[in-house]
Symmetry: C2
Subunit: 369 residues, 2 copies
Amino acid sequence: MKFYLTPGPSELYPSVADHLRSALRQKLTSISHRSQTFKDIYAETEKNLRLLLAIPDHFHLVFASSANEIWERIIQNTVALHCTHLVNGSFSSKFADFAQKLGKNTSLIEVPFGKGFQAENFGEPANDSSQTEMLAIIQNETSSGVSFDENLMALCQKQYPTALIQVDAVSSLPYYTPDFTRLDGLYFSVQKGFGLPAGLGVWIFSEKVLEKAKTLQAQLAEKGSSIGSYHALPDWLSQAQNHQTPETPNVLGIYLLGKVCGDMLERGIKTIRQETNYKAALLYDALERSQLFTPFVAPAHRSKTVLVADFLAEKSQKSLSQILQLFENEGLIIGKGYGKYKESQIRIANFPSHSKELAEKLADLILKY
Amino acid sequence: MKFYLTPGPSELYPSVADHLRSALRQKLTSISHRSQTFKDIYAETEKNLRLLLAIPDHFHLVFASSANEIWERIIQNTVALHCTHLVNGSFSSKFADFAQKLGKNTSLIEVPFGKGFQAENFGEPANDSSQTEMLAIIQNETSSGVSFDENLMALCQKQYPTALIQVDAVSSLPYYTPDFTRLDGLYFSVQKGFGLPAGLGVWIFSEKVLEKAKTLQAQLAEKGSSIGSYHALPDWLSQAQNHQTPETPNVLGIYLLGKVCGDMLERGIKTIRQETNYKAALLYDALERSQLFTPFVAPAHRSKTVLVADFLAEKSQKSLSQILQLFENEGLIIGKGYGKYKESQIRIANFPSHSKELAEKLADLILKY
């Protein structure tokens, strides 16, 4: 039996197989997405997600097909001209690329790969900060294992008063506790911390985001342009408020997300967060003490859910691939570094799907070599 | 045990549950979408689809999240100003709405709900036919059960020489045999004729479509606009040619589609088409002879995969809902009419997932009442 401690897609949450069987038994893949049965499934998923993440009532929620789609929808629906992106790794950089591809003026607040943001990065607001319509914050950079310092959120709000703040928590939820007074939007995809099959993303956003989409829709209509079709935010949301989607959605994905959120609620989100802290401490400790690996990120900015370490090739007689194969022989699959760090780093996911026993076994293995 | 003869989502293809179990056993939901294992899955699905639908080598293929997404991508990627839509029901009308929402000038060739197109509909090309960049043909209108007369395809090509012809075969594939010399694009979603869980669409298109996207991309870039981000066609296709997707895709959906196409190839597409004809003949015959229902569409335009019938309320002592409940009590769930025909029509799906025995049982039931 092999276990995936890769940073997404990752190990399924333990109850997923049972819920899948139950969905098949009930033939939920055959029901109409306009039926009351579907609306009930949608409503339960939304209710459980709201409870789990303590989403305030005045925040809205829609289902997309991926976090990539959400990047595109954020730009289309809420940015007329200008947005600003915090960039410290491959995914935050890719979101900025999306904005550029969609024809927007894009400012970057950039720190090197693997580094965290500090107050001084926001100390002198760019000249155009007052024109920025959207500030993209990367709460957890999946490529480099850097976590955003929550204390900087207030500073971001202050320095970018006109911007809607959108937070990428793709690989940190549900561990991450969002402060909804500090953000306007939050999104994730389900194949990471929620331990589900890929093919579903969730975007949570405030009334201000909806208002901006409506204003932009009216402005663009005059120019013969638009904010989109089936996922233009006002239409998208009006379906969502009726517990439906404009398109035939990933019904199974929505069902499974609701069930897994229900299971997490039963286990207790506090317990899940404590366990995540415990496992992260254990694994970082092992990486610190290891002869072959060393944590890549400075302690203050280390992600608790995606742990990245440098491979100390000069101290090893084996290649990184050979060592990862040894881990795999013991039943544990961990990730290689992202992009150009593929041969020089490892990435370990620490999601709710990963038991304490798995983390302990991995820590032992790290220390063994 | 209940069986869904609804026109999408519908009954799963009989082998889907086994393939799902196999996917879970192999932990395919946990693998990286950048791994060779995923690329092999992608390649097998594409190979099987190409064999099943006899797709010529010079046609490309990409995976989307739904047919709704494909509507949007067709407009964004290939229409600068003007498109023409054949409209004879709710879905063909909705595609035209998408084009309008995206700011395009849209011409309609419209016939009433339930009617088929005839040569005279194309007899006098509209003044703007020479400017039309895209002609949207609805091969099978899921709302009304009307099938497009394949003989008109050549006429469409002749009358709209500048247009890229995109064919909606959402609810007729794999029964429908496309003539790829007559079209530039073809698309479907998997929850209908392929008998799979919803959340995946497939768009097949020619080199001309790609060329148009590239030209449009260059034109729009000069205006600070664009054809999209992760699903801008050139980027989308370059990932597809490497058997990958820009986003983390619905891996399970892609896997299941490949497996079901493989099963259909084994059964034989000719057999599947013959069985579809047999079941359609049986069901239309029952509807003709029924006291309570009568086929809605004239014989020449009747769909073989989505059968729509009027409910003869004046001859019935029971309401349509009561009668459908009687069917359901016997284990057969069929669809109500679409939209405003909800209380006055029925819709019966006749997909490869529906066995001859099911069709025979339904025909008996139709005649019983």
